[in-house]
Amino acid sequence: MTDTPLLEIRGLSKSFGPVQVLRDVDFTVHAGQVTALVGDNGAGKSTLVKCIGGIYSMDSGEYLFDGRPVSVHTPRDAAALGVEIVYQDLALCDNLDIVQNMFLGREIRRGLVLDDITMEQRAAETLASLSVRTVASVRQPVSSLSGGQRQTVAIAKAVLWNNRIVILDEPNAALGVAQTAQVLELVRRLADNGLAVVLISHNMNDVFAVADRIAALYLGQMAAEVRATDVTHSQVVELITTGRSGDLGLRRQGAAA
């Protein structure tokens, strides 16, 4: 664990028209750690992630990477920093097949020509490593995949690359038992290899299984960022549902704002 966080967001606010979704949010991510981001439905987790990924522009706030301020306005900017995100709404191209989706935007080529063979091989390997056994062919269009299969494709896509930060927005939502275990193991392995991993999940078992740190959003505000070993299940649930738990969490006047 180093001292400068790999990624630091300071004072992020974001509104959609009249609705303020994030208020003055601070969020830090450290290399080699799994940071769990939790919060109630509509707390603003996905919005925060989309701001980090350059999908949404920030209304105000600072974006520090490796301690240096950077400006991230498009997904390309984020990718250039080494930030890879699996969004909750997946965003796969339904008209493309699994291989094409997994390598989208980073196709392997030989000269001008796409190297479909290598891509197909690597896609099949990665999928298999995520315990997906029911995909008939990696040349199937993703529109014909089951919910969990789609989810797996999106996850596989994110881990194919050498990144510095991997953010997973509810990756286990649609996954089966074996696949979930596989993904959690993957998350742990990524962090152990020195990457920073952010995991968003509503499942406390999953969170406590892998997280080093837990950040809880409550109604668009950061209620607490704590070490996973310092809190219990029920404390985190309390943070999620009420924004505070004992001396952790938002001050009362803050919560009322």
């Binding site: 990924g53 999908i55 498009t74 997904p75 390309r76 990718a79 995100i85 969004y87 997946l90 965003a91 796969l92 191209c93 339904d94 008209n95 493309l96 094409q100 989208l104 935007g105 980073r106 196709e107 080529r109 001008l112 020509v113 796409l114 063979i117 290598t118 197909e120 091989q121 099949a124 390997e125 990665t126 999928l127 298999a128 490593s129 995520l130 315990s131 056994r133 029911t134 995909v135 008939a136 062919s137 990696v138 881990v159 194919l160 690359w161 050498n162 990144n163 993957l186 990524l190 290899n193």
Partner: protein, 419 residues
């Protein structure tokens, strides 16, 4: 990041070693499930050809086949360009008149300024590219819907043609090289056969090479029998066409008109080029991605705006080629070149071929097939001695029938499977 490969890959590769029988069953099942590629368009085309041949025996003469190729070329080329724009779910109403503008540039430069043919051709293509660039910028950067931008361009280009043509005169295009393109250029019979041989051999080589490298890497590949079937079919069809076109078709004994029209070569090369770009390059893949789900493409780091601009450039440049082809055929350009029904026919050709107006779905080959459908209808109707009123009605009905065959086959097939 390398992940350990777990052992259970059977399902993924179940079909790797499948032979012809399995492949055929697979193909039939795929057809039944509505995934039929070019088949329905070919069926529609076939039905049309048979119908016209029965109605007018002249329809199946060598001379008429050559006419058909000349007549349909411009619309087909424009349709090929439109496929790119349609793949993105955009529309280009100006493609017809853009071809007119480029043809005018060509004609005015050739005839009024006497520049060499290649300068004129380059200028026409550059005009097309510039047009596409402007349209693309307005659509991608300012966010004006492409329907509106190209409607404005549709109007403006009509004016531009008039200005270039000085208020409506006809400009002759008499350059012998330009006229080779789609007026009187022909491959002599022997070179025609040689080219045919090269094409078929190339096709075979490509298929076998692909199969070889896939098998070498342990991936599922087409069985040899399927490749053979495909290549033989192509060889027979193309061979028949070359043979027919190598017959003497001139009504004038003094002039021989044997050989494959040059325009076939032009369209063939464009088809191969466009197909290569769409299927085998990252750029082509990104076009499909942006058309399929623009937000997903953006999140994958694709320069969505650049792709959007590029397709308009391609479309307008292809329209310029179409304009040159049209100018060559008419050996002249007039203010109506690219006007009247050219745009609608080109869009129709693309859509009949199965390109979706919603983006993400379509192939250039299908635009060529759709162009053939349109050309066959126009050509066949021209042999019937109908009054304009009847002709329009019959044309509409025939078009509907041709497209209907396509739709009904797809639908029947789709019933079995999805939705």
């Amino acid at each position: 990041m390398s992940l350990t490969t777990l052992p259970s890959r059977e399902t993924l590769e179940e079909r790797r070693s499948a032979g012809f029988g399995a492949y055929a069953r697979d193909y039939l099942a795929r057809i039944r499930s509505g995934n039929m590629g070019a088949l329905p368009a070919v069926l529609g085309l076939l039905a049309l050809v048979v119908a016209f041949s029965v109605a007018r025996p002249e329809f199946v003469t060598a001379g008429n086949l050559a006419n058909l190729l000349h007549q349909g070329a411009a619309v087909t080329v424009i349709a090929m360009g439109l496929v790119f724009v349609l793949l993105l779910g955009e529309i280009d109403l100006s493609a017809g008149f853009a071809s007119g503008v480029c043809a005018s540039v060509l004609a005015v430069l050739l005839t009024n300024f006497g520049v060499p043919w290649y300068v004129a051709v380059l200028a026409a293509l550059a005009t097309g590219a510039a047009i596409g660039l402007i349209i693309g910028m307005l659509v991608a950067k300012l966010g004006i819907p492409s329907f509106v931008v190209t409607l404005a361009a549709f109007l403006a280009f009509q004016g531009a043609v008039l200005l270039l043509m000085k208020g409506g005169t006809i400009v002759a295009v008499d350059d012998p090289i330009i006229k080779k393109i789609n007026f009187d250029g022909r491959l002599a019979p022997l070179p025609g056969w040689v080219l045919y041989g090269v094409t078929i051999a190339g096709m075979l080589a490509l298929h076998l090479w692909k199969r070889y490298s896939r098998v070498r890497h342990g991936l599922a590949a087409e069985p040899r029998s399927v490749i053979a079937l495909r290549v033989v079919t192509a060889a027979v069809l193309l061979g028949g066409a070359v043979w027919t076109l190598n017959l003497e078709r001139s009504p004038n004994a003094a002039i021989s008109q044997r050989g494959v029209p040059m325009i076939v070569l032009v369209v063939g090369v464009l088809l191969a080029l466009c197909t290569f770009v769409l299927n085998r390059t990252a750029f082509g893949r990104h076009i499909y991605a942006v058309g399929g789900n623009r937000e997903a493409a953006r999140r994958a780091g694709i320069h969505v705006d650049a792709i959007r601009i590029a397709v308009f450039v391609i479309c307008s440049t292809m329209a310029a080629v179409g304009g040159i082809v049209a100018a060559s055929r008419d050996a002249s350009v007039n203010p109506n070149t690219g006007g009247s029904n050219v745009l609608l026919y080109a869009m129709g050709a693309a859509v009949i071929g199965g390109t979706s107006l919603f983006g993400g779905k379509g192939r250039v080959l299908n635009a060529v097939l759709g162009g053939a459908v349109v050309a066959v209808i126009e050509n066949g109707m021209g042999l019937m001695n109908y009054s304009p009123g009847t002709k329009y009605i019959v044309t509409g009905v025939v078009l509907l029938l041709a497209a209907g065959i396509d739709a009904v086959t797809r639908r029947r097939a789709a019933r079995a499977g999805l939705r």
